[in-house]
């Protein structure tokens, strides 16, 4: 070979130490002994090793899940401190975090197909809308064959399956196309559905406005269907709440309970997609993105792989839509089948890191974080300024305009403007998004590499 080893990028391989899970570092004396033993013992050891490996690989996941899990009580705590008003401006409230979860799931499902196979699904809202409308229509008894009392978990599954079927149908014709043509035909399908749902009188007397679930219908239960003790109701006003759960003294209101319940579904969905992405199948998806012609030439029936990936993506998009409908109990064409719903997923996926799966969730978190600060609601920055700045300052003129007007015009409800700016900056300067950039820095997925870096960091300090 013409290239000698020293010319190779030196850090490409040096990551080995951190890459290898500790279980393989020979710390486990028993495994050596048992290696020569009988098959079953060997199996057990392998199983144990693989369990350990799984655990260690998921340390970052666990940390994120714990952080997310601690957020609601932490939020409650922080906003009751003397700096509470300031915290309230900056931190997204728990109910917003529920939206982060389900929209995040939707964005992940979008990333799953678009970020990994490279096929931009511009009509992804079609699947989200399917899941959402299925829940509302079923709950209001408007779907023949589905009683109004169908368990929510069942609806999640049904919505997912229905959307997967639709994805197969749409995909069958669309995957003969590539690039922009694919994006446009899926957009076309979604727009046709959008116009349809806007005019479908069966939905409600006013389909343009969508449909709601009245207070007479009880909360949707997430958990084990039929087992009350293992299910909780979601929804802000109708859901379950617990005062002083397990004697902790912490109050779990409806939004918090919904947060955990929805979070559990999102977590399971994420792991399912994450597994697929890291499976041999996932590698084929990437190969399709990289060079579909060659992927076909080495023996993959890419059409079928794309179809299945699309169906899976559609499934989880619908689950996200169903969670949305279940939590909010209202759906409308503009919040489900609309192009801008897909655009939200796109924004989230890009800001979080395209083709990183988990990044989409962080991307949407960022979106909501910004939106929250610029919101017109009581925790918004403009409200805070109006209420906390001294009146003479508010009336002081900036270039001939009272500051108050500047606040009202340039801050109050202007999230779009700043989101657009931030987005442009991201595309220009952080093209790999939040998670993608982190991965680049540490040389691999956060789950695999972050612990090593952290350890190294502390070792170096010592």
């Amino acid at each position: 070979m013409a290239i000698s080893d020293d010319r190779q990028s030196p850090d490409a391989r040096s990551g080995d130490v951190t890459e290898r899970p500790p279980a393989e570092e020979g710390e486990d004396p028993t495994s050596d002994v048992e290696r020569g033993g009988e098959a079953s013992a060997d199996d057990a050891a392998t199983a144990e090793r693989s369990l350990r490996r799984t655990l260690s690989e998921h340390r970052v996941h666990a940390a994120v899940v714990v952080a997310m899990g601690l957020y609601p009580p932490l939020y409650q705590l922080l906003i009751s401190t003397p700096l509470g008003a300031e915290f309230a401006v900056v931190l997204p409230p728990v109910r917003t975090m529920v939206a982060v979860l389900y929209v995040g799931l939707f964005a992940m499902s979008f990333d799953f197909i678009s970020g990994y196979t490279g096929y931009l699904s511009f009509g992804h809202s079609l699947f989200y809308g399917t899941g959402a409308y299925l829940v509302v229509l079923a709950a209001t008894g408007k779907l023949p064959g589905l009683s109004a009392g169908t368990p929510f978990m069942g609806l999640l599954l049904l919505g997912g399956i229905l959307a997967a079927l639709i994805a197969l149908l749409v995909g069958t014709v669309s995957f003969r196309l590539t690039g922009v043509y694919f994006a446009m035909i899926t957009l076309g399908f979604a727009e046709v559905a959008h116009v349809f749902i806007r005019n479908w009188d069966h939905v409600s007397p006013s389909p343009q406005d969508g449909a709601n679930i009245g207070g007479d219908v009880g909360a949707f239960q997430i958990g084990v269907p039929g087992v009350d003790t293992l299910s909780v109701g979601i929804g802000r006003l109708v859901g379950d709440s617990y005062e002083n759960l397990f004697g902790t003294g912490i109050e779990f209101n409806e939004a918090m309970v919904s947060f955990y319940a929805v979070g559990a579904v999102v977590l399971v969905s994420y792991f399912a997609m994450q597994r697929i992405v890291h499976s041999p199948f996932g590698r084929v998806m990437i190969a399709i993105r990289e060079n579909e012609e060659r992927a076909r030439a080495i023996g993959y029936d890419t059409y079928r792989f794309k179809l299945v990936a699309f169906a899976i993506s559609g499934f989880f998009a619908a689950v996200a839509g169903a969670l949305f409908a279940g939590f909010r109990r209202s759906v409308g064409p503009s919040s489900t089948f609309d192009l801008f719903v897909t655009a939200d997923a796109l924004l989230a996926a890009i800001i979080g890191g395209f083709g990183t799966l988990a990044g989409a969730l962080y991307g949407h978190l960022f979106h909501e974080f910004l939106g929250g600060i610029l919101s017109t609601e009581s925790h918004g920055l403009s409200r805070y300024l109006r209420e906390n700045l001294p009146p003479d300052l508010l009336n002081a003129e900036v270039a001939g305009v009272p500051l108050l007007d500047v606040v009202n015009v340039l801050i109050d409800g202007r999230a779009e403007l700043y989101l657009g700016l931030v987005f442009v900056l991201f595309v220009l300067y952080v093209p790999k998004g939040i998670l993608g950039t982190i991965r680049d820095r540490i040389g691999g997925t956060a789950a695999e590499h972050l612990p090593g870096h952290v350890r190294k960091y502390f070792r170096d300090r010592r």
């Binding site: 922009v180 043509y181 446009m184 076309g188 005019n199 657009g420 595309v427 093209p431």
Partner: protein
């Protein structure tokens, strides 16, 4: 679900309905009306799509901000008209001012488009095409919100088109006229004229200059084109600028058209129309865009007629038909009517 199924309102079986539909349709007045409608729609669609087709066809950049440029053009054109036109301005003076506004807006927006290209898009040519889409999408968010702020602060037009700008159109264009037994507006015929003009100019730009060739080469392999001595950056700026200028020219026309009018949502409407037309025509072919514009215009005119004459009681039909046409064309011809394989690396 009366709204959805093309509810044929006429009573009885399908036979008589179809018969009466056909006899209605074959009426000379009706046919003329449909053809006029189709032409005027087609002219607008081509007008709206021309700039996108140019940028997309040559550079392979899917400009999501196209609709916003059109919207800006509508407001800028409207502003010029509102400022210059007084109640006493006669019809011909208004037409003259209109062309003046068009020229001014074309100039301003060409410069603006070039600036956007230089500052924002140029740094990311070597990335996947997705990133240009995303970047222009970010531009949309910012531009639309900025315009919204101005419109709100000035209290120009809550939830409706900009009436003042609409009002600057001379009376003879605003009034309905009768052509061979069917009514239309003078304005719509004027639009056909403008549409034809823009097609001619764009055609000339593509065939009379080497820009078309340079850009097609450059979008495929810009390093190679540069190494052949082509100032590809300048060429890209010029084409992006001209495409943006064309988008804005469409906006100036739309500002007079009550079916569109200057408004913030025009941004999305124009974008979707432009997408559909350009994609149906096929990427990289301006001829395809023109033909697709005519085709969609015809679809639109026929379905509008069906709706107006109560054969179909579904107001969303023309809009739905546009997307159905997109889906169907792509199923039959995966690269659009005249499309070649996808253009370039951008």
């Amino acid at each position: 679900m009366t709204g959805i199924e093309p509810a044929l309102l006429a009573a009885g079986d399908a036979g008589p309905v179809v018969a009466s539909l056909l006899s209605d349709l074959l009426d000379v007045g009706t046919l003329v009306g449909i053809v006029l409608g189709a032409l005027s729609k087609a002219a607008l669609y081509v007008l709206i799509a021309a700039g996108l087709s140019l940028i997309f066809g040559l550079m392979g950049v899917l400009n999501f901000a196209h609709g916003s440029f059109t919207m800006l053009g509508a407001y800028l054109g409207g502003a010029v008209m509102v400022v210059l036109v007084s109640s006493g301005t006669g019809p011909y003076a208004r037409i003259a001012l209109f062309f003046l506004a068009m020229a001014a807006v074309f100039g301003v927006m060409t410069a603006f488009g070039s600036a956007v290209e230089k500052r924002l898009i140029r740094p990311i040519y070597d990335r996947q095409p997705l990133f240009q889409i995303l970047l222009t999408f970010g531009v949309v968010l910012v531009l639309d919100e900025l315009v919204r702020i101005v419109v709100e602060v000035r209290g120009m037009q809550p939830r409706s088109d900009w009436q003042e700008a609409l009002g600057t159109a001379p009376g003879f264009l605003q009034n309905t006229i009768t052509v061979a037994g069917s009514t239309t507006r003078g304005l719509y015929m004027f639009e056909v004229l403008i549409g034809a003009m823009v097609v001619a100019v764009t055609w000339g730009f593509l065939t009379r200059t080497r820009y078309g060739l340079y850009i097609r080469a450059g979008s495929e392999d810009s390093e190679m084109a540069q190494a052949l001595g082509i100032d590809i950056r300048k060429a890209f700026s010029v084409v992006f600028g001209v495409g943006s200028g064309l988008a804005a020219v469409a906006g100036v026309m739309l500002m007079w058209d009550p079916r569109f009018g200057a408004s913030v949502p025009l941004s999305t409407d124009a974008l979707l129309i432009a997408f559909v037309v350009v994609i149906i025509g096929g990427l990289g072919t301006f001829r395809g865009t023109v033909v697709a514009g005519l085709l969609v215009g015809l679809f639109d005119a026929v379905t509008t007629w069906l709706f107006h004459s109560a054969y179909v009681d579904f107001a969303g039909l023309p809009e739905m038909v546009m997307f159905l046409a997109l889906v169907l064309v792509l199923i039959v011809k995966p690269q659009g009517l005249f499309g070649v394989e996808e253009v370039g690396g951008h």
